[in-house]
Every structure is written in structure tokens, then in C-alpha cells.
């Protein structure tokens, strides 16, 4: 009965979404307060219904109700409980339901926290959100319904894909979707502004927290996905320029551009039309990413199921939302009042440079991702566009941007002084170069060009600190006054500095890990030793073990440094019995920020094992930097200015917003 209630709640949600799609827009057009007031009320109802539905499906997973086809296909009664929860979205139908849940969650947030918005804008934004909800509800109910039943019910499920039986599945998709779907709010704001035909600096202020929240979650989601692929797939790599990865990276690039252009709009009322376009583009890329992965066009661990009806449905959704938004943009954008002008050397100018590079980079990644698909459709020829293409194009594009990042915050709005900025920053640039050299010397070895890469990473970190240094004016006023001045600064300044610092950390990690990392492939017999990255690994033979739903043989390695044993590590090959599917579980040892990565290959004749061992110096900087960026996002999100605009209402406490956004 619970399952059927969940199913019905989803159908009822569709009815609600249909009402919400139409009436508030009419209300906004006619200035009808009651019809506009329907939008927030209805959005909360919608959220409640989808939550009920999602809860019912989760319950079916937890109690292993195999009369639900979706549960039977993707669960097993002996799976650990956490995977029964995360298994809900470890398949096509369930993940679409999660997408929808997060979408209506954001609508509900806009309904609750949108008190400072003009009534018409709020009604329109929520109506656009309801359009997207309607499309997804139809898609789920008609082509990907997780509530279809089996009668008679099988006795045991077919198990979750072993690769997905990991803590990563519990974290990565929800974070990623919070990012993807968060940008839907920006999209809805943009479309609502186009419908109203009015847009101004305040709009940018209102959109900012949503952009920031989505960007923060997407950053975390991508980093998490990358780390998951790194430790689960056993290939030792952390980014493969795989189309699925690109699909999540493109909205991030566009979203980063949006974050910065909205800043210009808020401060100077310039770049208005561009910002609206970026908001539309970012969510379009999110949609494209979601569906590219889901339609079965790309085969990977993410494409759970392929089905032609779904493909066509997906194409229609993409065409309606992306095409519709761009048509609306082409029609209405010329009617918007254009914004102010500014000099090329200014904070605005720096942000435009940022936007320019980021959008070109997005276009590059988009080309590299879609070109092979298009070519295959048209000519049947299969090509793969891999790391060399992206490193040459995307990599080169990023270099000037990374050099420019520290300049942005120290330039003044309106009219900047490049010479002055150079004068202020050259000491720090020198410091970065020195740090790069020192790092290179300590690690000794590698191509000389790597020094510049390392220096670039330090430049990002030190440049962020330099910004704070000048804002506190430590050089003139001394330490204690400087600290006082810093404390008085708005939190968004710290958010910027922290995020830029994190970017530097990531860049440093990328260069250090690729320059100084080593890969060793050896055949090892029991008792054999191999030296990697200053550590010595001794292979101690295979042992058999049994997990709840798998059997494995685990290789044991003792790790010593200078003759002293410092750690030991297990690396195993598993066989998941229900699906007869083998996986490798790499053994990973962390030393400071560096990691030793051991992966078992095939067994050789005579008892030897092929063992792949990677030494990954400073690899944790890559994801650590992303975490720092995320922290920057949250700090900026806590800035009191983002909550301004509700004069008649009491200011909401800082914590409330953070909790809601999480």
C-alpha cells in the first residue's frame, strides 16, 4: 500500500505542477495577487508530494520489496543497508526521481526564502520551475516509472551494479544533482526576467545566492566523482576527459562564468543580457549533461539503461527547454535596457576576461565531447577525442586565466590601474616563482617547464593571500589594525580569497602529481619487493575472503621506508556473486598529501601477480583544492548582503539559509 501511495503521490504531483505552470503566470500578467500567491503554496505542496513518493520508493528498497520491478532489478536483500538507501538513485528511474526531488526542493526554497522578491518575479520564477518539474514528472511517469510492479514477486533481487556499491554513490549523485538542479533556479530567474521584460542590478543580487549554492555543490560533486573514479576504477587516473565527466564539467565552467558576470551586473548594471544568456546556457548544459549520460548515447557506468522512447522523450525535453529559452531570449533580450559601459582595465574588465576564457573553454569541451558523437551519427566513423586534444586546447586556454586570477580582486571597479596592480603583486609573483623552484628542487627531477606549472599553482594561492594582505593594508597599519580591518570586511571577500586559494591548490596538485608521479607495472611473486616513491613494497601473497555479497582474493603488501615497516595495504579482486561481476579494489595508502596506489592485475603462471603501483605525490591537493573552493562558496553564501532586500520582514538568521541550502 505504501508503494501505491508513493506512486499516486507522484501522479498527484504532476497535477499540481500543471496547475503551477499556468495560473501563476496568468496571475503575474494580470496583477492578480491570489493567483500569484498560488505559486509558493503550490511549490511547497509539490515538494511534499515528491518527498512522499521518494520516501515510498526508499522504503521499498530498505525492506527489499521485490514486487517493485525497480527494486528487483537493482537491489539484493543481503546488500549492506547504506547501499539499499543509495541504491535508490543507483539506477535510471531512481536517479530521475532524485533529480526531480532536488528540483522541487529548490522550488520550495525559493518559495520560502523568496520573500524579498517582487511578487510577479517570484510567481514567474516558480512557474518556470513548475514547467521543468512537469516535463520531468511526465518523463518519469511515462517512460521511467520506478513504481511498476511485478506479480508474482521474485524471491531475490539482481543486485546493484558492484561498481556502484560504494560510499561514493551515497554522496556523488546527490551533490552533483544539487549543483545541476541548482542552476535551474538561475535559469528560471532568467526566463522570468525575459517574460517580464525587466532586469536590473537587484536581479543579479537575488540570483547570486542560488548561483553560488549550485556552483558550490557542483564543485563538490565533480571533485567527489573524480575521487570516486580514481579509487574505484583502479586505473590510477583522476580525470579521463570522459564524455560523462565533461558533461558535469561544462555546467561548472559556464556556472563559474555566471558567478562572475553576475557580480559585474550587480555592481555596475553592465553585462545584463550576457548574464541572462549565461544563466540559460548553464542550465542548458546541465540538462544536456543529465540526458547525454542517460539517453544511452554514451556508454559508461552512468548509462544505466537505454530505451528508444526515452531517447525521443529526452530530445523533446531538450528541444523545448533549451530551444524555447533561446527563442525567448532572441525575442525579448533586445527589449531589455542595456547596462553601463566601462574601461577595459578595471575589475569589470578582468571579469569579462574571465567570462571570455571560460565560455571559450566550455565551447572547447563541448566540441570535444559532441564531435565524436556527431561524426559517428553522420558517417558511422568512430573516433575518440581524448586527453591530448583537451590538454592542448583547454589546458592552453586555462593558463592565461590562471595567471590573471590574482589581478582581478586587486583591480578597482570602473577604472583600474594595471601598473599599480603589477607593482603590488610583483613581490608575490616572485614569491610564487621561488616556491615553484624550491618545490621542484625538493622533488628533484621532471621537465623544467614544470617549474612554471608549480609556480602557477603557488601564484593562485599566494595571490589570494595578497588580496587579503592589501585589503587589511597590513604594510601600513601594522598587524593588529590589519586584522581588525579584515574582520570588518564582508564575508564574500573571504569567500573569493578562499575559493581562489583553493583553485591554486588544485592547480598545484595537478602539476605536482603529473610531473613527479610514477607508474610501475611488475610481476610479483610472494616475498618480492619493489621500490616506489621512496617506499618499498613487499608482496605477501593472496588471501581469500568473503564479504556480504561478494567473494574476494586480497593481496597483502607490507610497506617500509628505510628498512622500517611503516604501513601495510590490501588490494583485492572481488567477484560479486549475484551478477558474477568482477571488480578491482585498489589499495591506497596516504602519506601526507601524497598517495601510494596499488592495483592487482592478472595472476601469472607460477603464482606471480601482475601488480600496478602508482606513486602520486600531492595528489590530494587536487580534491583538497576543490574542497577549499567549496568552503569559499559557503563562506560567501553566508554573507549578510545576500539576504538583503526584505525590508519589512525580520532578517533571517545566517544558519537558516545554510541549513536550507545543504
Amino acid at each position: 500500500m505504501i508503494i501505491e501511495i508513493g506512486h499516486y503521490a507522484l501522479v498527484l504531483a504532476l497535477a499540481t505542477a500543471l496547475i503551477l505552470s499556468v495560473l501563476p503566470v496568468i496571475g503575474a500578467r494580470r496583477g492578480d495577487a491570489a493567483m500569484m500567491a498560488l505559486a509558493p503554496t503550490g511549490s511547497l505542496v509539490l515538494f511534499a508530494l515528491v518527498t512522499l513518493s521518494f520516501g515510498a520508493l526508499t522504503w521499498a528498497y530498505v525492506v527489499s520489496d521485490f514486487s517493485v520491478a525497480n527494486v528487483w532489478e537493482n537491489s539484493h536483500s543481503l546488500m549492506p543497508l547504506i547501499y539499499k538507501y543509495s541504491g535508490v538513485w543507483g539506477n535510471h528511474e531512481g536517479s530521475m526521481l532524485l533529480w526531480l526531488l532536488i528540483l522541487v526542493f529548490f522550488s520550495a526554497l525559493v518559495a520560502v526564502f523568496g520573500g524579498n522578491l517582487p511578487d510577479t518575479l517570484r510567481a514567474n520564477v516558480l512557474a518556470v520551475q513548475a514547467w521543468i518539474s512537469t516535463a520531468f514528472l511526465l518523463f518519469i511517469l511515462l517512460t521511467s516509472n520506478p513504481f511498476l510492479r511485478l506479480d508474482p514477486a521474485p524471491a531475490e533481487g539482481q543486485d546493484l551494479n558492484p561498481v556502484l556499491q560504494d560510499f561514493g554513490l551515497a554522496v556523488h549523485p546527490p551533490l552533483l544533482y544539487l549543483g545541476y538542479v541548482g542552476f535551474s533556479v538561475c535559469f528560471s530567474f532568467a526566463v522570468a526576467a525575459l517574460i517580464e521584460g525587466r532586469i536590473d542590478a537587484a536581479w543579479a543580487r537575488w540570483v547570486r545566492p542560488w548561483t553560488l549554492a549550485a556552483w558550490t555543490f557542483l564543485t563538490a560533486g565533480i571533485a567527489m566523482g573524480s575521487y570516486w573514479a580514481y579509487y574505484e576504477l583502479g586505473w590510477g587516473g583522476w580525470w579521463f576527459w570522459d564524455p560523462v565527466e565533461n558533461a558535469s564539467f561544462m555546467p561548472w565552467l559556464a556556472g563559474t562564468a555566471l558567478l562572475h558576470s553576475a557580480l559585474v551586473m550587480e555592481k555596475r548594471e553592465a553585462l545584463k543580457i550576457w548574464t541572462v544568456l549565461l544563466a540559460i546556457m548553464t542550465f542548458s548544459l546541465s540538462l544536456l549533461g543529465t540526458f547525454l549520460v542517460r539517453s544511452g548515447v554514451l556508454t559508461s557506468v552512468h548509462s544505466f539503461a537505454t530505451d528508444p522512447t526515452r531517447g525521443i522523450f529526452i530530445l523533446c525535453i531538450l528541444a523545448i527547454f533549451i530551444g524555447g529559452a533561446f527563442v525567448l531570449f532572441a525575442w525579448r533580450a533586445p527589449m531589455l535596457k542595456a547596462g553601463g559601459i566601462f574601461a577595459p582595465i578595471s575589475r569589470e574588465g578582468a571579469l569579462v576576461l574571465n567570462n571570455l576564457i571560460l565560455t571559450v573553454a566550455t565551447a572547447t569541451v563541448l566540441t570535444g565531447t559532441l564531435y565524436p558523437l556527431i561524426l559517428e551519427t553522420l558517417t558511422g566513423e568512430k573516433i575518440s577525442v581524448g586527453a591530448p586534444f583537451f590538454n592542448m586546447t583547454f589546458g592552453l586556454l586555462m593558463l592565461p586565466l590562471l595567471v590573471a586570477v590574482p589581478f582581478g580582486p586587486v583591480l578597482a571597479w570602473k577604472r583600474g590601474d594595471l601598473l599599480g596592480a603589477l607593482q603590488r603583486l610583483w613581490v608575490f609573483a616572485g614569491l610564487s616563482m621561488f616556491a615553484g623552484l624550491a618545490f621542484f628542487y625538493i622533488q628533484n627531477g621532471g621537465p623544467v617547464l614544470a617549474i612554471f606549472g608549480l609556480a602557477l599553482g603557488f601564484w593562485g594561492m599566494i595571490g589570494a593571500l595578497a588580496d587579503l594582505w592589501y585589503r587589511g593594508n597590513f604594510a601600513k597599519v601594522g598587524f593588529s589594525v590589519g586584522v581588525k580591518r579584515l574582520i570588518g570586511l564582508p564575508r564574500s571577500v573571504f569567500g573569493t580569497a578562499i575559493a581562489h586559494f583553493g583553485l591554486g591548490v588544485t592547480v598545484l596538485g595537478i602539476f605536482a602529481a603529473t610531473t613527479f608521479g610514477t607508474e610501475t607495472v611488475v610481476e610479483m611473486k610472494q616475498g618480492a619487493s619493489v621500490d616506489v616513491g621512496g617506499y618499498s613494497l613487499t608482496y605477501d601473497g593472496l588471501r581469500d575472503a568473503v564479504g556480504p555479497n561478494y567473494t574476494e582474493s586480497r593481496g597483502h603488501f607490507a610497506v617500509s621506508r628505510g628498512g622500517v615497516e611503516v604501513a601495510d595495504v590490501w588490494s583485492s579482486k572481488r567477484l560479486y556473486t549475484a551478477r558474477r561481476m568482477p571488480t578491482t579494489e585498489a589499495g591506497i595508502l596516504t602519506f601526507g598529501l601524497s598517495q601510494l596506489y596499488v592495483s592487482l592485475g592478472d595472476a601469472m603462471e607460477g603464482g606471480g601477480m601482475v601488480v600496478r603501483i602508482w606513486w602520486k605525490p600531492f595528489i590530494l591537493c587536487i580534491w583538497g583544492g576543490a574542497l577549499v573552493m567549496m568552503a569559499g562558496g559557503f563562506v560567501s553564501l553566508s554573507d549578510r548582503r545576500l539576504r538583503v532586500g526584505a525590508p519589512s520582514r525580520k532578517a533571517k538568521p545566517v544558519k537558516a539559509r545554510l541549513e536550507a541550502a545543504e
Partner: protein, 378 residues
């Protein structure tokens, strides 16, 4: 019935909440720009802070103040103009009708088309507590028990043949091996394991399988089933004389009307022997039910070959579509080699090695089967 009451209540609640905004006294909509004004006022305040901290100089601050001031005036002016508009009372007949009707109509129509209102929830625990005659559930229950008591040999012993019959070969293999590990080997378990291995290798008697059958034979030399498979293994390896010896031993030890005699005689003939005085066939001819059995069990030599061939080809086809399957490649190479199709075997070996260049298993197999592969041979 309870379900329908709950669904009706849910629908009514949704419709009632959605109707609320219309029921409230309709206040006039203002072109509310107060929020906007507040944003600009805050920008002015921020400007003052920046100025006080010396983050921007006086001239810049003045420019910025003027810019924000212009926006502030525009917003405030528009707001006042909007608020003077006379409030209108509106009727919402159509809208309220839509809000009231939509949930029950859309909800019912779609749910009746998609849902299964008659089907109750079936949590596994509840079903296991009361399994009835459902074999699958009984198996699941036994699996549960074994997951908690993996050393219950009798349980494995019981499950293994059930798995084998329902073609869950992997599970059957595991169950037989566990039963043998815990209860010790006996001819039935060993032969069962061997048969499972043969079935999961598309009818090929592999090393593992042969070892199991030979052990079974040692424990019970009179077991015709084990001996038959040992013979089959020799036959597949092309060792006709040894194969024939095994088949003839079976024929000698078996009563002439044993149901397996026809099959055994066929294999004796195939391995170059002569069937002793035709007693088996005579008996078989004399007994129609046995003949039926034989016809079902033993196809003609050509049909049998064709069937094996068909299995191997379907494996090859599967691997073409999903080449990422080392076990499959090993099996394919072995199958072709056993069937005597050397070019095909070498081709499969090459494809397999392309997919798994570092696979020692494939190279070892090539050496064992005497296959040559240019460039890869060690």
C-alpha cells in the same frame, strides 16, 4: 479499500491547500519594488563602509554613489507609481475550478492507467516468514540461513542440485565446493560439481571438471556418470583410445538395458570401437520408452556437433558485442581448439589478446593448445 480512502484524503488535502490562496481576502497586487530599493540602500551602506576603511578613494566613491543613487531613485519612483494603482477585486471561478478538478481528474486517470492498486506491499522479511510452497522463496530462505551459518554443509548440499537445475551455475559451483569443503568429498557431490563445471563451459570437460570426476571415480569406481564424463574429456582432447577404454568399462559394468547405454555405445563407436554384440541397441529397440529417452537425450552425431557449434558461435557473437570478458575469451579459444577448428581458435586468441594484452591466462592456454600467435607468443 483503505488504500482508496487514503488516496482520496490525499487528493482532497492537496486540492484544499491549493485553493487556500483564493479563499483568502484578495489584497491588491502592488508593483512591489521595495525589495529592489532595499538592495540599493544596502549597496550605498556598503559603499560607506568601503570608504571608511579606505578601500576606495573619495572620487570613486562619489561616482559609485551617484550611480547607485540613480538606480535607487528609479526603483523607488516606479514603486510609488505602482502602489497608487487602485486595487481590483477579481473573481476566480475558472481558476478555482481548475485547481479543484485537476488533482482528482489527472490523479485518477493516470493512476488507474499506471498503478496496481490491488497489489499489496511485499517486504521480503514478511514473505520469508511465510513462504508457503514458493520454491524461490524457500531457496532464498536457505540462502539467508547459509549467509549466517556458512559452515552448514548440509544446507549447501541441499541447495547445490536445486541451483544446477535452475541453471544458476555459478551458485551451484559455489554450493558444491562449499559442501565438499565442509562435509568432505563424496561421489555425488564431486560428480555434481563436475557436471556444473561442464555446463558452465558450454559442454567442454575442463581440467577442473575432469579432476572432480576422476576423484569421484576413485571413491566409487562403479559410478557410470563420472566415468562417462572422464571419457568425454578424453574424447574432446582427441585421445580416442583412452576415451574408448572408459566407455567400454561403463558398457561392461552396466546392465544391458540401462538408459545410458545407447549414448555410451555411440561414444564407443565414435572413438573407433565396435559395440559389443549389439545388445544395448537391441534392448533399446525393444523398449519404446527407452528409445524416446535416448532420442531426447542423444541426438545424432551431426546434430550434437551442430548444437555445440551453435553454442560456441553464440559465445563468439556475445564477445564481439561485449569484448570485455576475459573468461569468455578463454572459453572461446578452448572451445574452438577442442572442436579442432585451429584457424578460428587462433583468430579468437588474437582478438582476446588485443582486449587483454597482459593476460597470462590466454598465453598459457595458447601454449597448452599448441596455438601460434605472431608477435604475442612468449
Amino acid at each position: 479499500m483503505v488504500l482508496w480512502i487514503i488516496l482520496a484524503a490525499l487528493t482532497a488535502a492537496v486540492a484544499a491547500i491549493l485553493i487556500l490562496p483564493f479563499a483568502r481576502a484578495t489584497k491588491a497586487a502592488s508593483a512591489d519594488r521595495a525589495g529592489e530599493v532595499a538592495v540599493y540602500r544596502d549597496q550605498l551602506a556598503e559603499l560607506d563602509r568601503d570608504r571608511a576603511q579606505g578601500l576606495i578613494n573619495a572620487e570613486e566613491a562619489e561616482y559609485a554613489r551617484a550611480e547607485i543613487g540613480r538606480r535607487l531613485l528609479a526603483a523607488a519612483g516606479a514603486g510609488e507609481a505602482g502602489e497608487t494603482a487602485a486595487p481590483k477585486t477579481r473573481k476566480h471561478g475558472l481558476a478555482t475550478a481548475a485547481v479543484t478538478l485537476m488533482p482528482p481528474v489527472v490523479g485518477l486517470c493516470l493512476y488507474l492507467a499506471l498503478g496496481n492498486p490491488g497489489l499489496p506491499d511485499q517486504p521480503l522479511e514478511a514473505r520469508l516468514a511465510n513462504p508457503g510452497n514458493n520454491v524461490a522463496l524457500l531457496v532464498a530462505k536457505a540462502e539467508r540461513h547459509l549467509a549466517e551459518n556458512p559452515n552448514d554443509g548440509a544446507g549447501w548440499d541441499l541447495l547445490a542440485p536445486i541451483y544446477f537445475r535452475s541453471m544458476r551455475l555459478g551458485d551451484a559451483e559455489l554450493a558444491y565446493r562449499n559442501a565438499i569443503r565442509i562435509l568432505g568429498p563424496n561421489p555425488v557431490r564431486l560428480a555434481g560439481l563436475g557436471e556444473t563445471l561442464v555446463a558452465s563451459n558450454d559442454g567442454i570437460v575442463t581440467e577442473d571438471a575432469r579432476a572432480a570426476f576422476e576423484q569421484a571415480m576413485k571413491l566409487d569406481p562403479d559410478n557410470p556418470r563420472s566415468r562417462f564424463y572422464v571419457g568425454l574429456g578424453f574424447e574432446q582432447a582427441g585421445r580416442a583410445a583412452e576415451a574408448r577404454a572408459q566407455f567400454e568399462t561403463i558398457a561392461k559394468a552396466s546392465p544391458p538395458d540401462a538408459p545410458w547405454m545407447q549414448l555410451v555405445n555411440q561414444h564407443i563407436a565414435r572413438n573407433g570401437g565396435t559395440v559389443v554384440s549389439g545388445k544395448g541397441t537391441a534392448q533399446a529397440l525393444g523398449n519404446p520408452s527407452q528409445a524416446d529417452m535416448a532420442a531426447a537425450e542423444n541426438m545424432s552425431q551431426g546434430d550434437r556437433q551442430a548444437m555445440v557449434r551453435g553454442m560456441v558461435d553464440s559465445l563468439a557473437e556475445r564477445l564481439k558485442q561485449d569484448p570485455n570478458n576475459l573468461e569468455g575469451w578463454v572459453r572461446l579459444v578452448r572451445s574452438y581448439a577442442v572442436l579442432g577448428d585451429k584457424p578460428k581458435a587462433e583468430e579468437a586468441l588474437k582478438s582476446g589478446l588485443k582486449q587483454f594484452p597482459s593476460s597470462g591466462e590466454l598465453v598459457a592456454l595458447a601454449n597448452e593448445m599448441g596455438l601460434a600467435v605472431e608477435g604475442v607468443a612468449q
